[in-house]
């Protein structure tokens, strides 16, 4: 106590100065709006900094516990995700109609793997033999044609994407019935070639190219793409047409596998003709 009094007496000048300055700053912060807001910003950043330093130190000691809790919570949440359930529905919905008989059934499926940048691109979907999917069934998306099933397993199927040079799909112009075939040339993933349109047909940029039933995989009229450029040299008998695919293969999630109920009958007939 005595030491304190001695200290105060010895430094009374400086202490008085400090008291006056504190009074002045108190007055400033209390009565001046711009300075007060500055002071609040300063004190807020200062104390939040102190707080974050304190937090980052104390958090360190709890990291193990927090990690375990988070891992448990993650496992619990992951269990509840829709993707961790396997759809058990096998029978597609059909409508009984005595006047028209159903030709096409659509089996909804989800894309679980997809590539676009390889020379041959495949899509894996989460429906397989159990759901009635067979080889050579067509696959369509909300915007147009996706590809064709090449291999099936019990629960999954491998789909040869339209982005594959091996796949030729029979197609026609929407406004006329000139037909040709669409295939991908291995370049840009939004663009494909539409060939075998004869030179006397009328084709212009912006025409829609749709599927037809010649390839026995798709219903007719499913969009494939839009003509983006038409060229023909003087001596060619066919156009050289480029189309922009209507399906963005980078952005596909829900697809439908086309089941043609009359497919075997037609194939039998076609083989008999030969």
């Amino acid at each position: 106590m005595r030491n304190l009094i001695v200290f105060i007496l010895r430094n009374h000048f400086f202490l008085l100065f400090l008291i006056f300055e504190i009074i002045a700053i108190h007055l400033i912060v209390k009565y001046n709006e711009p300075q007060r807001s500055q002071f609040e910003i300063f004190s807020h950043t200062f104390f939040s900094h102190i707080h974050s330093v304190h937090n980052s130190v104390t958090q360190y000691f709890n990291l193990k516990q927090i990690n375990e809790d988070l891992a448990l919570e993650n496992a619990e949440l992951r269990k509840k995700l829709p993707s961790s359930y396997f759809s058990k529905s096998i029978e597609p919905q059909t409508v009984k109609d005595s006047l028209h008989s159903q030709q096409y059934l659509f089996i909804p499926a989800q894309v679980i793997n997809n590539t676009i940048s390889k020379p041959h691109n495949f899509i894996i979907i989460n429906k397989g033999r159990r759901h009635g999917i067979q080889k050579n069934m067509g696959v369509i998306g909300p915007k147009g044609i996706i590809g064709v099933v090449v291999t099936t397993s019990q629960n999954f199927s491998k789909v040869l994407s339209l982005l594959s040079p091996n796949l030729n799909i029979s197609a026609q112009l929407q406004h006329s019935n000139f037909y040709g075939s669409v295939h991908w040339d291995g370049g840009y993933y939004r663009q494909a070639m539409f060939t075998e349109i004869p030179a006397h047909a009328y084709v212009s940029v912006g025409d829609t190219v749709v599927s037809n039933t010649y390839s026995n995989m798709y219903p007719s009229g499913i969009p494939i793409g839009v003509v983006s450029s038409v060229s023909k040299t003087k001596y060619d008998n066919f156009y050289d047409i480029k189309i922009i695919l209507s399906t963005d293969f980078k952005n596909i999630e829900h697809v439908y596998v086309v089941q043609d109920l009359f497919k075997s009958e037609r194939e039998l007939l076609e083989s008999r003709q030969q």
């Binding site: 000048f13 006056f20 300055e21 002045a24 700053i25 001046n32 300075q35 300063f42």
Partner: protein, 168 residues
């Protein structure tokens, strides 16, 4: 002694009134007011009690603050120069020390000494004042520019006063 006391009271009242009534209304270069009132702290006698000096600085600043409705800004700056004045006087003490019966005026110690003295006090005061006005160093170049312009004007008027008012 009584004469010094009387003259100090007279200077206090006249300088404060001059600042409030005249110089508060002289706004140069659209934002610069000469803060001539620190002349009062500047020319207080050498042998004044340090505590009294601080109290006078506090009261002066508070009165000026009332006139500007900026409570605390001038008080903080004036208390700071009142606190630092003894150290500055000690630092720039001429050879042979301060003579008895003299005051820190230009006529006793010459222009060079008074200029050094006034410059250091004015710069410290204005720096603190502008800092307390803005309370941040965000636009530091503008801050420094305005501070130096204002200091120059205040310093000019203080030295001018030495030639015209405190000549005899």
């Amino acid at each position: 002694m009584i004469q010094i006391f009387q003259s100090t009271i007279f200077r206090f009242i006249s300088i404060i009134l001059l600042q409030i009534l005249l110089f508060n209304n002289i706004i140069l270069f659209n934002n610069t007011i000469p803060y001539i009132y620190i002349l009062f702290i500047l020319i207080l006698p050498f042998e004044i009690n340090k505590v009294l000096l601080l109290c006078l600085g506090f009261i002066t600043g508070l009165l000026i603050d009332f006139s500007f409705v900026s409570y605390g800004v001038h008080t903080g700056a004036t208390v700071l120069i009142a606190f630092l004045r003894p150290f500055i006087l000690q630092y720039i003490e001429p050879r042979g020390g301060y003579l008895p019966n003299t005051q820190p005026l230009l006529k006793y110690y010459g222009l060079i000494w008074f200029f050094k003295y006034a410059l250091s006090i004015v710069l410290i005061h204005h720096f603190m004042l502008f800092f307390l006005y803005t309370f941040s160093f965000e636009a530091f170049d503008i801050f420094l520019f305005r501070m130096i312009i204002n200091s120059a004007i205040t310093l000019f008027l203080i030295i001018l006063s030495q030639y015209f008012i405190f000549r005899t």
